[in-house]
């Protein structure tokens, strides 16, 4: 080593940093035990795909933590005061060990392990052909709501909106696309997300272990309503699922919607104000907004904007621009409250 004039005293602050880093790790631990659950939590899986990913995550996190702590420790240790004289050859040897060991062996070994571990998990998520073709559910993203179609339903295709009912305990293929801009379909507790592109159909296979309700939300920025684009997902036993589909056959729905009743006035108002955008089986053909044929049976209104309860639809019709700013339904200032109440009351009866 050549001599250099250094006026700066060497001090050893590494123990202080060690302390600070320990504190930091403690905080992290505290946060991590605070909870993994939540209706959209990746760490609270409810299906095989999401469970694989959770396992991958914890393994990767443990390994990454070891690497980070190791690198930091070595770095800080290098600042210790010392006076070792080494020959140039010794220096070269030490340097080469660090560079080859840390720069080549470590990353190559880690990557190989990661790929061997991760690739099979990815394979299981692909919609590969099965001996028994799975149920297909089509989901189409709109600004800012979800159209859900069941092309394989016995008796004819079933169409609904903003609610996704699926059979539990069996794989389901989702065929997704976008009607206007790009959205993304994602049920975190079941598995990964896939983009909903206009003009294309993407496929993903998901499975729910048990009957349960899951949160889902659009994951690709799609405009001002992006934060308010929720999807209610419910997995039900197979027979319940079949019954659910059967109850939503067009003939069944239109019979309920068109029978003469106290709601005739509301139906007329609907034809005047709503029918050009909304479809109600047997009543109207509008395709701009969500299909309302079974709206009375849904759990949430306005793609998760408010819970469905008595009088909720009328509230929604009056305040929807506050509840879900920027949504594309016109404000109904020109319609008096009584009409809106009546409309809401009728729509709430549309429940198979």
């Amino acid at each position: 080593m050549r001599e250099r004039n250094s006026a700066i005293a060497i001090h050893n602050p590494s123990s202080r940093w060690g302390h600070r880093i320990t504190c930091l790790m403690g905080i992290c631990l505290l946060i991590s035990v605070a909870g993994c659950s939540g209706d959209r939590s990746i760490l609270d899986p409810a299906g095989p795909a999401a469970r694989d990913v959770r396992l991958i995550w914890w393994v990767m996190l443990s390994f990454a933590t070891v690497v980070l702590l190791g690198v930091t420790a070595v770095w800080l240790y290098a600042f210790r005061p010392r006076s070792v004289e080494r020959t140039a050859a010794q220096e070269r040897r030490i340097a080469r060990r660090w560079i080859i060991g840390g720069g080549l062996v470590l990353p190559v070994a880690s990557i190989t392990a990661l790929l061997m571990f991760g690739v099979p998990a990815g394979q299981r998520m692909l919609p590969l052909p099965l001996s028994e073709p799975p149920e297909v559910i089509e989901v189409i993203g709109h600004q800012w709501w979800w159209e859900v179609r069941y092309p394989g339903a016995e008796g004819g295709e079933v169409v609904t909106a903003n609610q996704l009912v699926m059979p539990a305990g069996e794989p389901v293929d989702f065929h997704v696309s976008g009607a206007d801009v790009i959205h993304a379909f994602w049920v975190p507790r079941l598995g990964g997300k896939i983009d909903m592109l206009p003009g294309r159909v993407n496929k993903i296979r998901l499975e729910a272990d048990e009957p349960a309700v899951f949160g889902a939300q659009c994951a690709e920025l799609c405009g001002v309503g992006h934060a308010h684009m929720h999807l209610y997902v419910e997995a039900v036993p197979r027979d319940e699922f079949d019954a659910w589909l059967m109850a939503r056959q067009e003939t069944e729905l239109s019979e309920a919607a068109t029978q003469a009743s106290t709601h005739d006035g509301a139906r007329e108002a609907f034809m005047t104000h709503c029918a050009s955008c909304h479809e109600v089986a047997g009543v109207s053909q509008g395709r701009v907004g969500p299909n309302l044929s079974d709206v009375g049976s849904r759990t949430m209104l306005g793609a998760g904007a408010m819970p469905m309860e008595e009088g909720a639809i009328s509230q929604w019709l009056q305040n929807h621009q506050t509840l879900k700013p920027g949504n594309k339904m016109p404000a109904h200032d020109d319609i008096d409250t009584d009409t809106l109440d009546a409309l809401g009351a009728w729509l709430e009866t549309l429940s198979p």
Binding site: N5, S6, I8, I10, H11, P13, L24, I31, A34, C36, S37, G38, D39, R40, S41, I42, I56, W57, M60, A64, V67, L68, T72, V74, W75, A78, F79, R86, I94, A95, W98, I99, G102, L104, L106, S110, I111, L115, G118, M125, Q143, V181, I182, P188, G191, G192, K193, D195, L197, P198, G199, R200, N202, A219, E220, L221, V224, A227, P325, G326
Partner: protein, 841 residues
């Protein structure tokens, strides 16, 4: 020719300094706008970058305030989308890149022993384009019409139908304008590093920082054009309705994503490399020994540069691309960990074998290491496709990205600023305030973003302006928001420390950190010409090997210590060996860059307001300014009318056939070629992948007319080559006539191409096929016109006596453009006229 001019005459150093100052010094008052000096412009870049950093930082604080608690209506969703979009855009385009380029512009000539960058007027043009573009872009915030489709501007959300306001136009036009600045800095940094190192500084002897900047600059040159193409296409779609990204017209919104990330991923490394360069510069200085594994680092930089262009698809794992492609991009994304790890362990080994000191800059380097390694590790996780599908577009990615960008760029940048502050100002920063600033920033940063990984794992998507109570994300968002205010307090303290030090800092002693590189041979602060005399440097550590070097340089004991000729001079050296080839004479201060940038700003504004006539007029005006600027070259009275050099010295570059302008043209054509290849990529991508692409029954482009045009441009290029060969053999008879003949052939090419275009009867607003074809032909026509104009100007310059056997440099530069045009036109004929006939619809 090992040490040209070494036996320098014994001058009075003070007299020499005064003379050099007369030639190089900066004017005051309004004329300060004409300054082309790299030191001044580098500082301007950095100060402007810091202002934009503060704007971007305030936007970030607005975001964190909005997200601190659930169901807040502090901002409406529209404003929130504008704020997040602009935060990303400002930080990436108006802070990170220009800031690092500013640092490189300031440091590179000083480190390689040059007196300025090789195209000083281009530095100035770049600065003004950056300034004006930045002002135009950020002004959209004031009128609440900022872009709101995210900093990545995905179509169709950013298209006319779903974003009818001017927001997207502000982004597309403003960013393209700013990119002129990035590209021009990229071009001149490449040429400066390759051709103006001081004598003896072979490629393998140059400081590592220069390697990093060389890689960054080359990556800018290749990486930015795809985005410029994408922006041009999207703006054309928005303004005139050409359906490049619309399914119905045969376009594809995913093409935008490819073009964006073809730029966007290298961009990450463009930001990281110079920052890593700072780390590789600081660690040896504070470890008190040379870096171990210089060759390893150079190899790692090179590999990183190449791999980074093969990773872009990992931003698009959820768009439904084929499995094989995903596997490839997944593995490639993980492989980039190898060159990164090599650098990290080179740094560790250097510290291990040295005697490191934890001075203030090293504290920031330590912060960098911890944060960046953490970000790198989550990056490897994200490269695993199944995991990516879960966390993509969640706050996990937001956290990862900030670990990589803040850890990988901001921390080293502050380390570098503290390290070079004494050079900038001649004063030392305060250790105390600086340490407080560091710890607040470090803890605030980790508090904000470490927690955010968790928020993302709990399922919080990105870019939502609010979330409902009961989601389980409340406490984590609140902690992130509180920490972000600690982070901003830390950054405020750092900036305060830096600002105060200019007034109160202790005067620094010379070379205060005992560094090894040439920039510390400057006076502190540096003079406009950097060095009185240029040394012969054959070591990687000139100041360690000869601590007396700064004094002998200041005394004029080395080469080029001449001022009597009144020219701004430095060495032009061999790109590999560093042997002296010629004397480069640089242009002085000039109004033309400001004028040209102002005209371009008017173009930008009139495109924004859709006054296309005005835009057209000012494109021509800007062109005239730029051509007028190029007029003052070579033997022009304002450049170097008299070619006299000291006996024994090499000739002026304008009297040779191989000066820096030729190299600049070459590097510019690499950028241009990247633009053209992106265009071909777009053509073939839409052709093969777009769901509703329609190939016309009969190919519309006449093969005969296009072929004839191709022959014309080829003949023109052959004539140019013949003229060059003549000049090389000292013949310039018929030179002017030769230029005019070539120009006439170029005009013929333009005419025939125009005829083919007219005959094709394209309807570019109906199908993307016709739109893409029109863009390709417009590109060819523009380049044809450029070649004709430049060639005619060469003919005129022969008449004025600025070009000829005595000054044979410029025709070679123009001939290079001709060669490029021949290749590009041939490829265009193949892609647009031949292949559709061979393969068919």
């Amino acid at each position: 020719m090992k040490s040209v001019n070494q036996e320098a005459v014994e001058h009075d150093p003070q007299q020499l300094h005064d003379d050099l100052h007369d030639i190089w010094g900066n004017p005051k008052g309004l004329k300060a706008l004409t300054i082309v000096n790299h030191t001044t412009l580098g500082l301007r870049f950095m100060i402007t970058g810091m202002v934009f950093f503060l704007i971007g930082g305030i936007l970030a604080m607005l975001v964190r305030t909005q997200l601190a608690m659930p169901d807040q209506d502090f901002m409406s969703p529209e404003i929130y989308n504008q704020v997040t979009t602009m935060h990303g855009t400002v930080m990436m385009f108006l802070f990170a890149i220009p800031m690092l380029e500013g640092l490189a512009i300031y440091l590179i000539p000083k480190m390689i022993g040059a007196r300025d960058l090789v195209c000083p007027r281009l530095t100035s043009l770049g600065y003004f384009c950056y300034l004006f573009g930045g002002i135009i872009l950020t002004s959209s915030l004031i009128i609440e019409m900022a872009p709101s489709s995210g900093w990545f501007m995905y179509t169709p959300l950013s298209s006319k139908e779903f974003a009818p306001d001017l927001g997207s136009d502000f982004w597309l036009l403003g960013i393209t304008f700013v990119e002129i600045s990035a590209l021009s800095a990229g071009v001149e940094l490449v040429v400066s590093i390759l051709r103006t190192r001081t004598q003896g500084m072979a490629l393998h002897k140059m400081p590592l920082f220069a390697w990093y900047i060389l890689a960054m600059a080359l990556m800018i040159v290749v990486g930015f054009p795809p985005l410029i193409l994408g922006s041009v296409l999207l703006e054309l779609e928005r303004a005139v309705g050409m359906p490049f990204f619309q399914i119905a017209g045969g376009g594809d919104p995913v093409l935008w994503q490819h073009l964006f990330w073809l730029f966007g991923h290298p961009e990450v490394y463009i930001i990281f490399l110079p920052a890593a360069g700072i780390v590789s510069t600081l660690i040896p200085v504070f470890a008190g020994r040379p870096i171990v594994g210089y060759g390893w680092v150079v190899a790692a930089i090179t590999i990183m540069g190449f791999i980074s262009f093969g990773l872009w698809v990992h931003h698009m794992f959820t768009i439904g691309i084929p499995q094989l492609a995903q596997a490839f991009f997944s593995a490639a994304s993980m492989l980039v960990a190898v060159p990164t790890a090599i650098q990290v362990f080179v740094w560790i080994a250097t510290l291990w074998l040295g005697k490191p000191k934890m001075k203030l800059p090293m504290l920031w380097v330590m912060g960098f290491l911890i944060i960046f390694v953490c970000g790198g590790l989550t990056g490897v996780m994200l490269a695993l496709v199944p995991f990516n599908w879960q966390v993509h577009d969640t706050h996990f990615v937001v956290a990862h990205m900030h670990y990589v960008l803040v850890g990988g760029m901001f921390f080293p940048l502050i380390a570098g600023l503290y390290y070079w502050l004494p050079l900038f100002s001649g004063r030392m920063p305060s250790e105390n305030l600086g340490r407080w600033g560091f710890w607040l920033t470090f803890l605030g940063f980790n508090g904000t973003f470490l927690i955010m990984h968790w928020t993302g794992l709990l399922g919080m998507p990105r870019r939502i302006y609010t979330y409902e109570a009961g989601s389980g994300w409340e406490i984590f968002n609140l902690l992130s928001s509180i920490s972000s205010f600690i982070l901003s307090a830390g950054i405020a303290m750092v900036l305060l420390d830096i600002a105060l030090h200019f007034r109160f800092g202790k005067p620094a002693k010379h070379n205060p950190w005992n560094a090894d590189t040439l920039e510390w041979a400057n006076t502190m602060p540096p003079s406009a010409y950097n060095f009185v005399s240029l040394p012969n440097v054959e070591t990687r550590h000139p100041l360690w090997d000869d601590p007396n070097l700064p004094h002998t340089m200041a005394e004029g004991k080395h080469s080029l210590a001449v001022a009597s000729h009144g020219r701004r001079e430095m060495w032009g050296t061999d790109p590999i060996t560093g042997k002296v080839r010629e004397i480069i004479h640089l242009p002085g201060n000039s109004w033309w860059p400001l004028f040209a940038a102002s005209a371009l700003a008017v173009v930008c504004l009139s495109l924004l307001t859709r006054v296309y006539l005005l835009a057209g007029v000012f494109v021509i005006i800007a062109g005239i300014f730029l051509l007028r600027w190029s007029w003052e070259n070579g033997a022009h009275p304002n450049a170097a009318p008299d070619a006299g050099v000291k006996p024994g010295d090499p000739p002026l570059h304008s009297r040779t056939m191989d000066g820096p302008g030729l190299w600049a043209m070459g590097v510019f054509l690499i950028a241009n070629g990247s633009f053209f290849l992106s265009y071909l990529f777009g053509w073939f991508y839409l052709w093969t992948v777009s769901p509703q692409w329609r190939m016309p029954e009969t190919p519309p482009l006449s093969l005969m007319l296009m072929g004839a045009a191709g022959v014309a441009v080829f003949a023109g290029a052959v004539i140019m080559e013949k003229l060059i060969r003549g000049l090389r053999q000292q013949r310039d008879a018929g030179l002017g006539a030769g230029f005019y003949t070539a120009a006439a052939l170029g005009a013929l090419q333009i005419g025939l191409t125009g005829w083919a275009l007219w005959q094709a009867e394209l309807s570019p607003t109906q199908t993307s096929h016709d739109a893409v074809m029109l863009v390709g032909l417009a590109y060819a026509l523009f380049h044809g016109c450029l070649a004709v104009i430049l060639t005619v100007l060469q003919g005129l310059r022969v008449g004025y006596g600025y070009v000829g056997v005595h000054a044979p440099f410029e025709p070679g530069v123009v001939a290079l453009l001709w060669r490029y045009n021949v290749v590009v036109f041939g490829l265009l004929i193949g892609a647009l006229a031949v292949l559709p006939r061979v393969i068919g619809g």
